[in-house]
Amino acid sequence: MATTHQSLYGYIWQHSRRDQLVILSIALAAQPFYFLTLTLPKLIINGPIQGEGFESPTATQNFMRFVVGFPEWLGSQWTLLEGIPLDRTSYLFALSLAFLALVGFNGFLKYLINTMKGRLGERLLRRLRYDLIDRVLRFPPSHLRKSKQSEIASMVKDEVEPLGGFSGDAVVWPVFLAGQALTALIFILVQSFWLGLVSAVVVLGQAIIIPRLRRPILQLGKMRQLQARELAGRVGEIVDGGADIRVHGTSNWERADIVRRLGRIFDIRFELYQRKYFVKSLNNFMAQMTPFIFYAAGGYFVITGQLDVGQLVAVIVAYKDLPGPIKELIDWDLQRQDVQIKYDQVMDQFQPDGMTPPERHAPATDPRSPLAAIELKNVTAIDDAGFTLLDDVDLALPLNQTVAVTGPGGCGKEALGQLFARQISIKTGTVKAGDDDFFALSESTASRCIAYAGPESYFFPVNLTENLLYGLKQNPRDGAASERSRREAVRAGNPAFDAEADWLDYEALGTRDPKIILERLVDVLTMVDLESDVYQFGLQSRLNPKVSAEATDRIVEARIALRERLAAPDAANLVEHFDPKTYNRNASIAENILFGASTDPIMQPHNLTSLPHFQRVVAEEGLEQHLVAMGQSIAETMLELFRDFPPDHPFFDEFSFIPSSELPVYQQIMKRAKTSGLTYPDRAKLSVLPLRYIEARHRLGLITPDIRERLLATRRTFAETLPANLKPLISFYEEGKYNAAASIQDNILLGRVSYGVAQANERVNVLIREVLDKLDVRDLIIEAGLAFHAGVGGKRLTTGQRQKLGLARALIKDPQLLVVNGALANLDDQQKTNIVDRVLKHRAGKATIWVLTKDDLADRFDRVLVFEHGRLAADRQQTLREAAQ
């Protein structure tokens, strides 16, 4: 770490000086009032209650008389206020009310000080957290690659937390405690110089020894903090690497590592306790040393007559006030050191070399000046391991060509791509954009002019539209944020940015019309071959009918159109429609009874048995015995089919109605069925089985005409007697009505694709698309698809989809220079070729640098750079004719 950071006190003082001083002065100003509350009771008891000064019935005392006493040599006293004369009862009430008022006032001051301290602490914490995250945003890429996100999160979130609570007490508290201790000490000194000296020596001893003993405790605290942070890091790894841990069967290895770490943390913490309580008891012991000396030595002095009893008692009483503040002062010092260590520990981690200077992240103020031609001169770059990435590269790039960068893997072409995204830094040489240092360009200029799509793009857990438009949210916009929140942000050293505002750069998009923006999105999605995926997402998504009543009407129209199309002879039997009056052979028994869609887990077909309403209806319709009979039949078949398979055989998951672990249970049930008869739990277990049964798929011939009628009757009763609290949870399938709980596709189909018809799914998909295209509802579906949530890190998308989306995100910016760096590595050759062709056509006349994973597409570019061992081995311009060939 090259730079050292500011000390904790420096940081606190610099950013909260004013508040600290205000609090301190309020606290000091409160002291006289505090003192008054302590003396008033004495006045009340001595005066009006015991009658001191009211010896005669007509005697009065002056209320609020204020006299300042001076030492004799300054001339006795000075009356500030004469006060109001009051008789005994009034005086009692006046004093009591004054007491009440003072208590209230003191409470108010305390409240004021505490809130001010709290606010100060929270502001400082907010500032520190912001500073840390700001630093993360400015980390050099190489440091980011090495950082563990959960450790950083634990530092920003937990480790700096105590600083907030501490900073409010950083100045006021020690001043206060020291003042109290000093007062007590001075008082003792005045009473008896020698005894005072003894207590001063003991206090001094405490102040020297205890912190020394605490030093190892602080060291342990430091270790505890590091271990806890590492644990957080490991937990993060276990979550991120969960799939690989399972694949490699190393869960026990991970357990072992965690056990070791927890053991280490336990040892540290236990030693910490031991030492802490040892120091605590020593501290207590030392605090009791002084009274011991008072009793022994003081007592001896009294016996020998060198000290009178009154003085000794006064000293002992005064001493009562000394250990408290001293102890708290020592505790406070411990807390200070603890926070100091935490602060140092955290700050050390946020000081890597090569951080981007803050100015470079400043919002753009310049007009949208274009980027000048880029020129590399003698550029050499190495990676973290010292391996040469680029070796003495000279290159001039006028920003009007399409350039292919080729060569074998690891030849430096990838590094060249990263260089344009400023993801690597160079060791020697210069990179210039016109006259400017390319690496010193401001973030806003560089990212506006250059779009980069690498092999691994990160996506945020928001919907696809927001991910696609992510690159167009660079410059702060004003929103409706209140003046108060803005001011508060500035007071805590945060920039006054408004995340609620619409940051989208409409100027770069060239339009504000949402329709045109959607068109633009569809264009780039088509370009990268992602449009049909998004279309599928759309079909699988749900529309909110309240938001888009028009859209749902169109879907119902599509349903009718599809139904007509499916009536044609070539498409008959492809789909079995949901008809309230007929049993659907392609749906399960549970689906047939439920006959509706729900987004609530309790109303899902597989959870039906635990629904009391369902149990009631089944009993009413006399279906129970039939379910048990069907269950017996299924159990019998399953036992016959799967008894010889090992428990982990894939067939169980794919085909069996009974999981392998349950097979013995059902074996027992079936045995009882033949001998002693079924028990009640047996019947319950059996009646669950048929609910998943789909006649057309499983073909066990269970749905006889009689059963069918009963199931239909159950369906009717289930809907008719549905309790009011369940009604909002389910939308029944109804002809001519949009079902809000079902996906768009299910709404269009309103039925099930038939099992057993060759390629039924593919054919139905084609038909749906035809129908939707004819009705011109494509945009609607795409829009619904764009609302698809990408998941954490885009994990709900496949690798291929993520790569395509990364390229699309770069394309939508329509940048001056597009850099594509192995962004299509996971796609097959045909897709790759198509995408390259479409993108190049779209980018005609604009600068594009494409780092190709395979060289065979190079002939489509104006210029080809060939890299070998980090060197630029060939640089060929291709004429258009060549390129066309």
Binding site: L641, D644, P646, R699, Y755
Partner: protein, 155 residues
């Protein structure tokens, strides 16, 4: 037609003739019942095969490509199996199979079939026996053909 009928039909296929009823039931249960319209193509010559089709009702045409277009080699009706070689090894389909009538089939997938063999050695032995018999037949026919050729003085 329920699974039991399918089992009866499976039993008539030589490859499966010696296998237990319960195993055939499992084979039927893990297979997919598929219908094809008249003229639909089950699979094409050269495709990578992943399943065999047991014809339950209807008829298929088997044809192979030639320089003069597809040539009809055979027509096969109910209770026959087509594409069974792909259950055992991954070779491209040797012919194109088209539904010559509306067709009802049982599609046996290679993965499921292998799943059965892996854990049921008895069944594997039965299949091996059947294959050995076939091989023996082929060998015999081959040597007979050789003998004919030699007799005709062509070798």
């Amino acid at each position: 037609m329920s699974i039991l009928t399918e089992v009866e039909l499976l039993r008539r296929i030589p490859l499966f003739s010696n296998i237990d009823t319960s195993r055939l039931k499992l084979l039927a249960f893990t297979s997919e019942r598929l219908t094809f319209e008249n003229g639909a193509i089950l699979f094409r010559e050269g495709d990578r095969g992943d399943s065999a089709y047991l014809i339950l009702t209807g008829k298929v045409d088997i044809s192979v490509g030639s320089p003069n277009g597809d040539v009809l080699v055979a027509s096969v009706g109910a209770n026959n199996i087509v594409g069974e070689m792909s259950l055992l090894c991954e070779i491209p389909r040797s012919a194109t199979v088209t539904a010559a009538e509306p067709l009802d089939t049982l599609r046996i997938k290679k993965d499921q079939f292998f799943g059965l063999l892996r854990d049921l050695p008895q069944m594997t032995l039965e299949i091996m026996r059947e294959l050995a018999l076939r091989l023996n037949n082929v060998n015999r026919e081959l040597s007979a053909a050789h003998a004919k050729l030699r007799a005709a003085g062509l070798e």
